[in-house]
Amino acid sequence: MIRVVLPYHLRNLAHVSDEVTLNVDGPITQRTVLDALEAQYPMLRGAIREHDTQQRRAFLRFFACEEDLSHESPDANLPDAVATGKEPFIVIGAIAGG
């Protein structure tokens, strides 16, 4: 079971109040986790990754185990602690703007 923490506005969009849990088959990567997240919450499509390019939106960052994984390959394995559900995969909005 993969745990994902969403920022406030995306929790509202997905109508969830807490972290979400996902079943992900195969390797646990940014891509497979986000694919599973968008499959379970289709209203998030385009809000984390750009529709066409599947690139991370510029003002969002990905964290896990106190590390910024934003610039890692989307196909790189996430830390074991995320894969085992011990630690969440965190989507966070950059602190910018007003």
Binding site: P7, E38, P42, A47, R57
Partner: protein, 414 residues
Amino acid sequence: MLAGILGYNCSLKINYNAVAEERFMSGVRILVGTRKGAFILNSDGKRTNWEVSGPHFAGWEIYHLKGSPVDPNRIYASQSSSWFGQIIQRSDDGGKTWHQPGTPAGQPAEPGPPKSESNKFAYDSAAKPLTTHQWYDGTQHPWEFKRVWHLEPSLSDPETVYAGVEDAAIFRSSDGGKNWKELPGLRGHGTGPKWQPGAGGMCLHTIILDPSNPKRIYIAISAAGAFRSDDGGETWKPINRGLRSQYIPDPNAEVGHCVHHVAMNPKRPDVLFMQKHWDVMRSDDSGDNWKEVSGNLPTDFGFVIDVHAHEPETVYVVPIKSDSEHYVHEGKLRVYRTKSGGNEWEPLTKGLPQKDCYVNVLRDAMAVDALDKCGVYFGTTGGQVYASSDAGDSWNPIVRDLPAVLSVEVQTLK
């Protein structure tokens, strides 16, 4: 004879009651988009007491909301954020509840392809000619989707709605907002390399559907100008003859003008009024030719313009000091009204602040209702929404402290 007289009197009485009943039952719903959410203001036909609901989509920029003329309970909203991108929201109950079309709240996806992609606005990459547009530094730049500025529901089908977007293009949904397809003929006109972003981006902000001709659509872009389609959006022609803009290399160019807003009285659809960056303009031939009608305005820079619901020669603008100082002239919030189609303008000040006021009124932030005594409404960047129930003679704030207002639309309810 007696029966005839009685019948006549009886008929009069029934008509009187019908009018009274309609006035009693009618109401107004104002849809307000702000920098930090949407608000819905409701009143009965007297328009003196208002109920305020919101914020809906708190914390998000709501560039525009608009209700279907066919089904007033159907409202579309553009919700956007620099962080999370573009979201389309829809209400089917007059704004009480909302959902993203095709993805009801919290509903898990079923296996298979996406049920909808209501927030996906993909430019038609097959459209010819493929063009770039002019960037701020004069170089060419590819089209990049930013947000939806304006939503225009069809006059005949609640499932059909048009979207004006940044970077400038027009999209249409025929399934209630679930899927969007560009009408590529607009960018395909071929003048794209001469279009350029204004200070607010290169936005298609105005869409007007001609009630007398379902094939005719008007749009306006900052900074490209106004365009018209006479074939339902397949092909477009620039309609900027008569516009003169000193700030572009050729002041009389076919495209490149910074049109801020265009308005039409639906009962006289061939007459259009325009607030250009500078200059208030009028066309009597569906945009083919324009003439300036700024007349005695204290400044003819501004954003909003609208037309009285029943008097097509009565037009409203809010002059703004200049394009360097985006606030009202002399610290006074004044709506200017002409009753003669332009040139002769009178300031409307009763109930509006006449000192120390430095707000702006953005291009989509004025609307009129269709009640007997036409109501006029506008919102400011200071968060006030003002209402006049007497065609502008006097004004009252409905709310004073909302986030900066981006758009105001009115639904006249029966």
